[in-house]
């Protein structure tokens, strides 16, 4: 089974992605991660304005078989959370790299993002 790994973003070993979006960065979980979790039924996200340190857990993704913490790939401030997930957490399963994003970060150090895994490196890890 092969998973979708877009080349326009960076990845972490804990299966999060981060992608530049109109001046901020969007963060979500990968196709591999959503498949591992199975049907996602609930998402817990931080309040806007929360300052997060790299590697800090910022929320919880709950599926019918597991509860998983999600960790922020780089330091930053929460600029937005994906409110659509409140009523439709399954968006993460359906479209993990698009409508299923979790939070938007500002005050992000671009260099820190560059240091993360690129698509090839992440794909290697999940094989």
């Amino acid at each position: 089974m092969s998973f979708d790994v877009p080349t326009d973003r960076r990845y972490t070993e804990s299966h999060e992605w981060i992608a530049p979006t109109d001046g901020t960065y969007r963060v979500g979980i990968t196709d591999f991660a959503q498949d591992e979790l199975g049907d996602i039924v609930f998402v817990e996200l931080p309040a806007e304005g929360t300052d997060l340190d790299e590697g800090e857990e910022y929320g919880v993704v709950e599926s019918i078989k597991a509860v998983s913490d999600v960790y922020v790939p780089v330091s930053g401030t929460v600029a937005a959370v994906n409110e659509a997930l409140t009523d439709a957490p399954e968006l993460i399963n359906d479209d993990p790299y698009g409508d299923g994003w979790l939070i938007e970060l500002e005050n992000v150090d671009e260099a820190a993002v560059e240091e993360l895994l690129d698509a090839d490196a992440y794909e290697e890890q999940t094989e």
Partner: protein, 459 residues
Amino acid sequence: MPYATHPPDERAAMLDEVGIDDPAELFDIPDAVRFTGEYGIDAHSERDARARVGSVLDESTELTEFLGGGHYDHYVPSVVDHLSLRSEFLTSYTQYQPEIAQGFLQALFEFQSLVVELTGMDVANASMYDRSTALGEAALLASRVRGADGDTVLVPDSLPERVRSVLENYTNGPGIAVERYPTTDGTADVDALESLVGDDTLLVYAATPNDYGLLEPELDAIGALAHDADALFCVGSDAVALSVLEPPATAGADIVVGDASVLGMGTTYGMGLGIFAAREEYLRQLPGRLVGASEDDSGNRAYTLTLQTREQHIRRERATSNICSNQAWVALRASIHAAWLGPRGLIDLAEECVAGVDELCARLDGVEGVTAPVYEGAHFREVAVETDAPAAVVAGRLREEGFALRTRSDGGDGAEGEDGSEDDDESDDEYLVVCVTDTNRDAVDDLADALASVSEVSE
């Protein structure tokens, strides 16, 4: 649930299978924490033990109780014993496996449904240990929901010491402060509360009936004050009182805690049965066990524990509560009792708790040197009564006459000799608090006569 022992040959086969000689090899218990002493328990035959226990019990003094104080005696119909003592139900085993425990899961679902109906809330769990632990969990829920915005829980100064101390056990770790707001004439002083509610308030608690047996007339106002400060509003009550009271949901309650052991249980050993109900918004923050109705693969209704990701065995330190259990068998008994009475029977029982107090007050107020009630207002089961002689002295004399009554002081000074333990200093208590229910109502006249004979002030 069959109880199957392991005969020696089966044990040997199992040990052989895993390749060890002794089950002790499976456990690594350091010597430092091993108990090596003697238990100091003498062995007796069953017949001897029965005789000894019987002779000790024979020394007990029969007292007519008017105690109350959180544990209320209502007549428990014999059907409750007959059903709950059936071997399918009577087990300390936690019967939650849906494959074999449909009956028990349904009983717990019925319990939850009963609590939801009585409280008017959206969801109720399968029970907590008692009202005190339920209140502790309510404080923790409020702190999870309100996040970093507050750190104070407000409780009335009439809240019994033993309830508050359990609450403080819960709040101590997370650094939540418990503050008391004043009561005037036995019920909440809303003006004083208003000056205490602020940005740091997580939760405001009010009980109806409270420890004086008074119904709280200002629930709506208290709820509004809590919500104005973005705090949660928690109402405490019990399953019988709620049968005739407005559901707390209509007063804006976010959480309802209380006790359901008023049904299905006597007062023996002070067994509680905590109620915990909340608005749907807080469903995933609920502590404890939750039974849900689902369907099996043939489309039949089937019950199962649900939303277990809140719980400790799934989420460890991030669980909503460190209680992954409930009082299943006690909840079963309460459910049978409630179902047996039905809505009309519950209302009749509750109305008796109102009429009984009125009758008691009329009778006791006629006794020289006795004022009943101390506080005006609607009472349920209990009432504060004032005597010219010190309350503790009167209670002591009544005990000699065969009546057990508790005493208490007004809140605010923390001096509450109300758990009946012998080293309690009850000498400063101002009131008798007299509890009358269906089980002791016929002794009210005797109590009044006894009170008349002991309440003259004498040295």
